[in-house]
């Protein structure tokens, strides 16, 4: 659906995006992740034909964004980062106008406008002036706008920014539902959002793709660096030796706690989970065990490691 080759964008001496290469297949929900200023919005603006690239090629559904821009634009639903709307129009009026502008006219115009109002919960405010809407509603009008022409590809630039927790939940659910019928590229720096909604993550840093994988796999890659925590009452040296001999364990740190308890921190290799083995070990040697758990590694961690230290 999206094919990006060697995409570079320079603004007055600053390179926003450098030699970007990636592909998005039909039906995927791809999360575009990166710190502020990494080039997410720039890439999305190029894909939605708002900005031209300095060099490189990008195509959407087989159409080149530079030379077949209107073909691309009629197939892409784009929701910009700052949803800008005409404040003097009413919601209903605005949606009708936008649909007509995208070539949705006549009876289909009414159908589509009704459909997106339903999807984005805009029924209550359809007669309100956009200028009088709250930020959350404006975001939803922006999303509704992107959906009007039933596009093949949805490009959503930080769709949940500025929403309250309930609205965030609704929008995420909406994105998930939309993902059944549309290909979606969404950007965010909220990592839980990616974990919850996306089938694949692209991490972009300093204008380059730093990682591309499923959220689980990415988390898995770092979970190894995370590790296992346990608190066991035993002799420190014995414990060290016993734990180190378990398969998949790379490193064991034992720190003495009160009353002879030892706090253990285990680093493991990818794909190994020695928790069951530890439980078995302590039971076998009759060492009291009072805590055993996996260090929760969120994508947050993955993100920090990738964007600060490069590829892991």
């Amino acid at each position: 659906m999206i094919k990006v080759e060697g995409l570079t964008k320079k603004y007055a001496g600053i390179t926003a995006v450098q030699d970007l290469n990636f592909e998005v297949q039909k039906g995927e929900i791809v999360g575009f992740l990166g710190p502020n200023g990494a080039g997410k919005s720039t890439t999305m603006r190029i894909l939605s034909c708002f900005l031209p690239a300095t060099s490189g090629r990008a195509s959407v559904a087989g159409f080149d964004v530079a030379s077949q821009s209107r073909e691309v634009r009629s197939r892409v639903g784009y929701m910009p980062e700052n949803v800008a709307l005409y404040p003097e129009m009413r919601v209903q009026e605005y949606l009708e106008y936008r649909a007509a502008l995208k070539g949705v006219r006549g009876r289909r115009n009414r159908q589509r406008v009704n459909a997106v109002k339903e999807l984005c919960n805009l029924r209550d405010v359809e007669q309100k002036l956009i200028g009088a809407l709250s930020k959350g509603y404006r975001q939803r009008v922006g999303l509704a706008d992107a959906l009007l022409h039933d596009p093949d590809l949805l490009i959503l630039d930080e769709p949940t920014i500025g929403l309250d927790p309930n609205q965030i939940r609704q929008v995420r659910q909406l994105i998930k539902d939309l993902g059944k019928r549309h290909t979606i590229l969404l950007s965010t720096h909220i990592l839980t959002e990616v974990e919850m909604t996306c089938t694949r993550v692209l991490i972009i840093n300093k204008g380059r793709i730093a990682a591309s994988d499923t959220p689980e796999a990415l988390a898995g890659r770092v979970r190894t660096a995370g590790g296992i925590r346990a608190e066991i009452r035993a002799d420190a040296a014995d414990l060290q030796a016993a734990l180190s001999s378990l398969p998949g364990v790379r490193k064991v740190e034992v720190t003495p706690l009160e009353d002879g308890w030892q706090g253990c921190l285990l680093r493991t290799d990818a794909g190994h989970d020695p928790r069951a083995a530890i439980a078995g070990l302590t039971a076998g040697r009759r060492w009291p065990l009072r805590e055993l758990g996996q260090e929760q590694v969120s994508l947050e961690r993955v993100f920090a490691e990738i964007t600060q230290a490069g590829e892991i």
Partner: protein, 251 residues
């Protein structure tokens, strides 16, 4: 084509949905009303060969209002969209740049026409009340209003160009006001500068909106200003189109 009308419709509505348009309309009517009164009052002072139509279109008040209101009509066209960011949804919809430029320009022309339409009423009322003809034939009316439209179209195109160049409406207004004023006074150059060569005088006469209007409101038809204003309007719109397109490469 349908896209163009969708855009045009939205641009025209944008004028009338904002209070600014109504305020401009109100004060503009106040000004032209006063101008009409002043013209008739001047004619009342003694016998004159000037018709009411001619008097109306050749006073200082007329030109002052005419020139002042143009930048106010055009300043928001592009600058507002740049500033508010609505240019982004607009240009990511499948529309041509030329459609956007033309729709915005024609909406401005439409608003300009709406501003001037009520002035026709003055002449109608005048005739009703005084039983005196405001002009002896249709010529002066047609001439004056066609010239009004022609000069207006060119000056509105200048305003359109100025608005496409900046995201600040005030800057757009000041730019177009300055350029329009300069053009207007170029036509008056021969009045200011004594040592004008005939060639220069002939050249500046082309810019003389004052003279064009004076002749047209007497019912004279001259094809030169028609060609002059139409071609410059096209040229300015062409420039606007390119400035509008270039914003992508500048960003």
């Amino acid at each position: 084509m349908l896209t163009f009308f969708t855009l045009l419709n939205r641009e025209i509505r944008a004028y009338f949905l904002s209070p600014v348009a109504w305020i401009v309309l109100f004060f503009f009517l106040l000004l032209t009303g006063f101008n009409f009164y002043a013209g008739v009052a001047a004619l009342n002072r003694g016998p004159s060969e000037v018709t009411v139509v001619e008097a109306f279109f050749n006073t200082v008040f007329f030109w002052f209002g005419f020139i002042l209101v143009l930048p106010l009509i055009t300043m928001r066209l592009f600058a507002e969209e740049y500033k508010m960011g609505t240019i982004e949804p607009l240009m990511t919809a499948p529309v041509r740049d030329s459609q956007v430029v033309l729709a915005k320009y024609l909406a401005a022309v439409f608003f300009f026409v709406v501003l001037w339409l009520p002035s026709l009423l003055y002449f109608a009322v005048f005739q009703q009340v005084t039983k005196v003809e405001a002009a002896s034939a249709a010529g002066p009316y047609i001439g004056a209003y066609v010239m009004l439209l022609l000069i207006g179209m060119f000056y509105l195109a200048i305003g359109c160009l100025a608005s496409a160049m900046t995201r600040n409406q005030i800057v757009a207004a000041v730019m177009s006001f300055s350029v329009i004023t300069l053009l207007f006074f170029t036509g008056l150059l021969s009045f200011f500068v004594l040592s004008v060569t005939p060639a220069l005088r002939e050249l500046t006469a082309y810019f003389s909106a004052l003279e064009h209007m004076s002749e047209a409101s007497r019912g004279f038809f001259d094809s030169r200003p028609v060609v002059f204003y139409l071609s410059l309007t096209f040229f300015t719109l062409f420039l606007t189109f390119h400035v509008f397109q270039s914003r992508r490469w500048r960003s």
